[in-house]
């Protein structure tokens, strides 16, 4: 990856090295690689050592950081704005279509959308199911099959994104994205009722109440348990706010509360 130095002057070597660092950083960001394990870390360490020897270590770090940031942004844009290559359109089940066609439920007290009676009856007679997209399933299986030192990290990363609905919802700036993501999560069975109580990008405030299927079936816990939902909401909120935000679950049904509460950190 780094050009041979034999006929290059020191200055040319420095320029080539910085370019190599920039390329690696961009690749790491774009492909979402972890740069602290496996082959990437070896490549990065070799470049850093070389940069240290040539006295351009700090410049290399800067170039790498900026390129990684650029790559990450482009990856997010590509994830959020268009379907993944090779993906076919997910067939819609008739039942789901019916749910989508239903008129919106009028907000109740504090703006809560409670389940309509028909759905409650269905839930009582049939066990609830959580659906994941084919894309998330493929990622999950590939992560299990992965044979590398990054296996645990990769698996954790994929598992945390298993509720991902990016193939159903365009992730763009605005409250609409968050509403669509929550609606998709509801359609997929991850959540039941939900309400966006506070949405204020200007004050960096977000407050969501929802019923979590996962927490409902989870045993009683001292801590909030809906980490996967937190991840999904955090991604949606970041797109909706137009910048990265950190979301935490402050109250959870597994702790004995009536609803799970999510807010910005």
């Amino acid at each position: 990856m780094f050009p041979k130095k034999s006929r290059m002057s020191i200055e040319e070597q420095k320029i080539a090295l910085l370019e190599a660092g920039e390329t690696l950083g961009y690749e790491v960001g774009l492909k979402g690689h972890l740069d602290n394990v496996g082959k990437i870390v070896e490549k990065k360490r070799a470049l850093l050592k070389k940069a240290r020897d040539l006295g351009v270590l700090e410049k290399m770090m800067f170039k790498y950081a900026v390129a990684k940031e650029t790559g990450t942004k482009e990856r997010r844009l590509s994830i959020y704005s268009k379907p993944k290559p090779g993906m076919t359109v997910q067939p819609r089940r008739t039942e789901r279509s019916k749910v989508a066609e239903r008129p919106a439920v009028e907000p109740g007290p504090r703006g809560l959308h409670f389940e309509d009676e028909e759905r409650m009856i269905t839930a009582a007679t049939r066990p609830e199911r959580i659906g994941i997209s084919p894309h998330a399933l493929i990622n999950l299986i590939e992560a299990i099959d992965a044979d590398s030192t990054a296996k645990y990290q990769r698996f954790y990363e994929v598992l945390m994104n298993v509720a991902d609905v990016s193939d159903e919802v365009p992730y763009i700036r605005g409250k609409e994205t968050l509403e669509k993501v929550l609606s998709a999560l509801k359609r997929n069975g991850w959540i039941s009722d939900y309400a966006i109580e506070i949405f204020s990008p200007a004050r960096n405030e977000l407050y969501i109440l929802l019923g979590s299927t996962y927490a409902k079936y989870h045993e009683r816990s001292r801590r909030p348990v809906c980490r996967i939902l937190t991840q999904a909401i955090e991604r949606a909120a970041s797109s909706a706010f137009g910048r990265e935000v950190r979301v935490v679950e402050t109250k959870c049904m597994a702790q004995g509360f009536n609803k799970c509460e999510f807010s910005t950190f």
């Binding site: 770090m61 170039k63 900026v66």
Partner: protein, 227 residues
Amino acid sequence: MTEDSILGLSRIIQTSIPSDSVILIAGGPGTLKSGFVGTYISNAIKGTDMMGVYLTVEEAKDSLLRNWKELKIQVPDSLKIIDFRDIRRELQQTEDTHALSFLEEVISSEQLLGGDKFRFFALDSLGALYSMIGRDAVRSKLFTVFQKLKEFGLTAFFIYEEKRGFEYDFEMADEAFLTDGIIKLGITTKGSRFIRVEKMRACKHSMQPHHLDVGPHGLSILGPRLE
């Protein structure tokens, strides 16, 4: 991390501070925040195989070293001072928004190269970082940065410039909550400097303000200040 990295520090901190700690050094202008951190890290790594990184996004490296020289700080080779503005100027980058990514990359890369020898990190200052990127953008990521520092077992100092005349800067409430320790530096109305350890997790310490003096051997902490 040793208590005698600064002469007299053992008067305030009775037991050693865990190495994986993030410490906030807060104080108004002229309270020797940079000098305190510079003295601490320099003395801690001098004569050892440990190394540290001091990242300045506010004061120029030359100016910082001049001030440290006045404070009798002997900067060892293993303390690397990185000037963010200088690098950005050399690379002709005009955007401030990369400062946070750069901060994260410095920590990761130095750990990758130095391994266990990389033990100290300092950022000068949080306020400057906020002014570049915006407070909200940084705050949402600070938690991740702090986690990374702890994961690497580093002792990290984050310098924060408070507004003069305020006993407690409410704007820093979040940072105070996230950090393991808060060391406050100040100047009394009579013009003498003082230090107070307001918080230090897993460590016995005095809450009383003590005099901070610059003597012939550099910074030293004297007896408690009488209220």
